[in-house]
Point group: D2
Chain length 391, copies 4
């Protein structure tokens, strides 16, 4: 179990671009990073597109006024002058800015933690991957749900062969918050439904990449051979982006997958639902009730595994924080993600290749894979929702 | 509410082909037909492929020994000689015999109630449809789940526009009882996995037609424009039939549907799950908890509608039997189905066209539609899981 | 599994007193008795306090008009004249008439099946017990919920010691249908809240006896040593009867029990909930989801046992009707209860003492025990909700 | 919603007594206090009964080595010498030390945050209450579950009269982790089952006080008139303390309450369950699924209220952190509790009586009330589980 004791030498000096008072996701980043004060220390930020509001906010969360910057460029420049300047920067801004901010930070020698979907194209991902490698820097991607302990229980069970051969992958992340039209919509909705600011997808990138990344955690040995994506916009002003999509996937071992994302699933408050079916048993998990894992063995009574219990695999217990009987929430999950990224950064800084070889965290490869998957989805959908080989 | 009081003039004289001691479905038919003794009276049967066992069984459930026949042909012949001969015959035999038994019964002037999937081809359906019409006889199809009161609550809510425009149809019927191979399998599994006895599909016909018919009940105004079926056999000896399939459907109003059937969903005991999503709200129902209907209004708290409660639509209350707080099971649902078919037969016998025009029951049209849907699925799947126009 | 094949020599000739068109419970009795036509045949009835309505109703459910009687006295007299007269009579009338009708039937040589709570006093019970024994007749009591297969799974698991020593018994049957006052209440509510017609209790007798009897089934080896009953009427016009009560019980093995009944538990649609806790594990069951039994082993993942599955105890599988994946409802449970009573009657008629010695059904002893428990509850409550030795 | 922006002038200088590496609850305190770095800053601690281990631990969580003390006395003395000395101390040690440490801190002019149950006797509580008042200091009590947003939704609904008159209070906190005997038990179990270190109760104080305090939050207008406590030790070595207890309560408005606590409820992982029933509707909540509140209106469909949704009362939305669709865990709840206590301390430091008059937090009065309730429970139980007037 984690109890806040330090796992790296000292807290990293951390800054944020975006994530200010009007955004919702910023607080999840801070909750994740600052949980124990042993992984990160928030030293600066360009929190808001409105610099005055950004400074007011930054001061309110404890940042020195003179380290609350107007934008990412001045942040990079300002911090570069300091002996105690920022070391790692989180990018929590609309999609279309991820690439340029990440690039600039890396070029300035800063590690980066970026929101998903990472960039617009795999080409951009490869460039950044190369740049980060050259600079010896880490790029983390905040797939915030995969820090839940029972996600890693699923992965460990699959790895041990407890489910048998994997046959069925069923992934859902649907809600109904965009069931109505976008007249009077929030800024968050506006930029997400505009290809210029969101990139080539809406719900596939916004929520589908969470499903896909989690499935990679659980099924690292499975590769998609071909997929078919059927996407559409029930609210026509969102086209060519989609507010609803189904993706069918054929894996290299013969398994069949289906992924459903929607923001017009009226009334659904059930968050994400994951089901992995093997030849012997299945596991199901949802972020709506993250403390329980449904484990169904064919011919036996289904079991409900509870987080933090000694019967779980060590990989799951290792990242438990609250202990059995007490709920772990999304904040706890983000704390794990940020911690794992911090460990990667520290190892990179120390040049500890051995550690990095086995250490798991959502890095640039995971971000790139998400964008690659999106490109395949769009290629299929735009060709008439046909099967395409996964490239 | 239903309380067993007669809704037709007198109980119909009823017989069964199949459904004997070794079958599982026979008891569901008898539970349905004989519930109140005011709709049917069991007078004869050819219950078993083993005539002696069939007679022993028939006598044990109260049928006169001399009306326990060796097969359907002798049943038809024997009963034809009696003044009080059978009027309606249930066909609860393997799929490949449905057509010939139904045809023979109709030609002998008997109404028929047949298991699903009705026949192998739409062509056969059309022939039987024509024959039944010519003879003035009813053919009922035992879609046994659609008698549940809350199914009709969903239909009434959709009809009143409570959900808004229908956008998403999500249908699942999966279990894992065929997760292992078929070595040593029961007769029931053997004939279902053999195209000669099962017809062109396994799980699509065996369980998928339940999903499809129920969706027709709830969405009578929606038509499929095109569909794509991706089917496969995880246990290779079942090929060319499938133990797993996903069907994507585009409806004429722009709605998107997905149907999942599987008999290798290891450990899943959740029965069927239905979700209908409109522009304003959604409803979800499962036979696993048939007494509750999840009604989710976007932006409001989800509600759990309970069967038998006065706030429900009259169509639902009309077919409730147990009353609120008390569970209705599958037997109650079958009782409703059989009752509605009895009312159709009685009306047909009386020549009451006005009644028949508005009376709802699973008849030959429903059975034909199921077979038509299967044909489209197979056509898509066999062409490489491609989109096909619904014909 | 049960499939309707006869378990007794021939169906018993059965009649009903009460249970007509305006009552709700009558249909549950008929559903139970007539399920398979191999245990009972309905031949007569005095269905209604309004004889004309009763006759109309009786004819509508298939009873000969001349065997639809005005009241129980004429029924007994009329049937006595027939060679094919009634053999067993169900009493489904308000509580205050149970004793006199049961007595009259027994004196006329008829078996009786009676609603709960059986009579007003243990003294009455003992008289009837003695009378039935002298006449060689059966008195069954319709504790309708205890026919569910998973109830008998719980009993079998306790018997095998799977739970360890029983420590905690937690029983609840609460609803909110009487949350408002009784102005304009139905007849059913009126007689239940009047001591003259209901007897010494309202909810304790009306729903609490179900809880208590089921606990006896599961824990036949435990005896109450003392109890404390705290009852009250939130709607004052119901006093001295109660619409809410809690009973604490100390068992002879040291176990502690608590039983909660209420008809003012506003909004609760959860039916009954049972929990039996042992030193090693617990089982929980509710009629709201009767197909699943929660089995919680300390230190292991909770399991959800599903009815009809081969891993269950033979006692549970023996009374399954629908099979796994398909819901058993309350009607199925009543069918079992009525069947077990029929077997007892047939055995009594045959003089088969060996069978009766091991055969389990809710008989006069169970009915008497329920009344005894009520007497102890009232004694405690009326003395100021104090502990009383169980007498 | 809360997003970490400061609500007090500057973070309080905070220290801990207890809560080191081997304790489980310490991390919950730190998670609560340090969540946003805008309410507390951890400056010192006497974390462990083993000073070396305590110092190692303190350094590991970022405390200066010279402010890691051997015990609370040296902490108080050491910090007193500093200009930037600690201002508020958390007491997370076994029960028997609460009183002396709290007293010493207060006498040294330090605010205190103490684990529950606060002290052994009401007399001690009154002394501390008087001392704190005289010194102008705050004593907070960590009832950590009551920070969940939906707890405050329940309170707001009751206050607005949405449930009608409160009639039934049903409170449960049971688990089975002490189902076996205590041979080889952890230190945490040992001191909790020994009256010298635990005080006059085991589960009543350890988990029952959580139930009782939460019920006070929801029902501030209800007072207990009399209660009856039935407690026992299924594992005899725990006597005279209890591992199982039921408390019946009569409130001054006529409502009836029942509270059940147990650590031998084998297999139960359901955490706490709360149900408040009014004349019109009920609400139910559990920490096991803290994001949903069941709201059951008599005669209408039950509703599931989801945290963070705009339809909730402002009191609930005010303390939401994660937003709808994303789970709030116990850590979020503790963060709220610690924040509210910080606001009280800041207001006390500023002498802001107006703020304190309306500000809600678990303070000394709540702690005292918990101990008072325990005293009444013990008095009842020790007199033979009889009714006692609440004193």
């Amino acid at each position: 179990m984690l109890n806040g004791e330090k796992l790296i030498r000292r807290p990293l000096r951390w800054g944020m671009v975006g994530g200010g008072r009007t955004g919702q996701v910023g607080y999840k980043h801070r909750t994740g990073a600052l949980r124990d004060n042993t992984a990160y220390r928030l030293v600066c930020g360009a929190f808001d597109i409105d610099p005055a509001r950004g400074k007011d906010f930054g001061v309110n969360i404890g940042v020195d006024a003179d380290r609350c910057y107007a934008d990412y460029k001045t942040l990079i420049a300002g911090e570069a002058k300091r002996a105690d300047g920022v070391e790692v920067v989180t990018v929590a801004t609309p999609n279309f800015t991820h690439y340029e901010i990440t690039r600039a930070c890396l070029e300035a020698g800063l590690h980066v933690i970026c929101e998903k979907p990472l960039f617009f194209t795999v080409k951009e991902c490869r460039e950044i991957e190369e740049l980060a490698a050259r600079k010896g820097l880490v790029v983390g991607v905040t797939y915030g749900f995969t820090g839940h302990p029972l996600v890693h229980q699923m992965a460990a069970m699959v790895k041990k062969g407890i489910l048998g051969d994997i046959r069925i992958v069923d992934l859902e992340y649907t809600h109904g918050f965009n069931s109505g039209d976008d007249v009077g919509a929030s800024e968050a909705v506006k930029w997400r439904t505009n290809p210029k600011t969101a990139g080539p997808t809406f719900v596939l990138g916004d929520i589908g990449t969470h499903l896909y990344y989690l499935s990679e955690i659980v099924l690292p040995h499975l590769k998609i051979e071909k997929l078919l994506c059927d996407r559409n916009a029930f609210i026509s002003t969102r086209a060519p982006l989609e507010d609803h999509a189904t993706v069918l996937m054929h894996y290299d071992n013969g398994a069949r997958g289906r992924l459903w994302v929607s923001s017009v699933d009226a009334g659904n408050m059930g968050s994400q639902r994951y089901r992995f079916v093997g030849s012997k048993a299945s596991v199901s998990w949802s972020d709506a009730h993250p403390d329980q894992l449904i484990y169904e063995i064919q011919g036996e009574p289904p079991q409900i595994l509870h987080h933090g219990m000694p019967y779980l695999e060590k990989e799951s217990l290792a990242c438990d924080r609250m202990g059995a009987l007490h709920t772990e929430g999304l904040g706890d999950s983000w704390s794990n993600i940020y911690l794992w990224i911090a460990e990667a950064i520290d190892a990179r800084n120390r040049g500890d290749e051995a550690f990095l070889k086995t250490h798991h965290y959502p890095g640039i490869a995971a971000g790139t894979e998400g964008v690659r998957w999106l490109e395949n989805c769009v290629r299929s959908a735009d060709a008439g929702s046909v099967w395409v080989d996964f490239q």
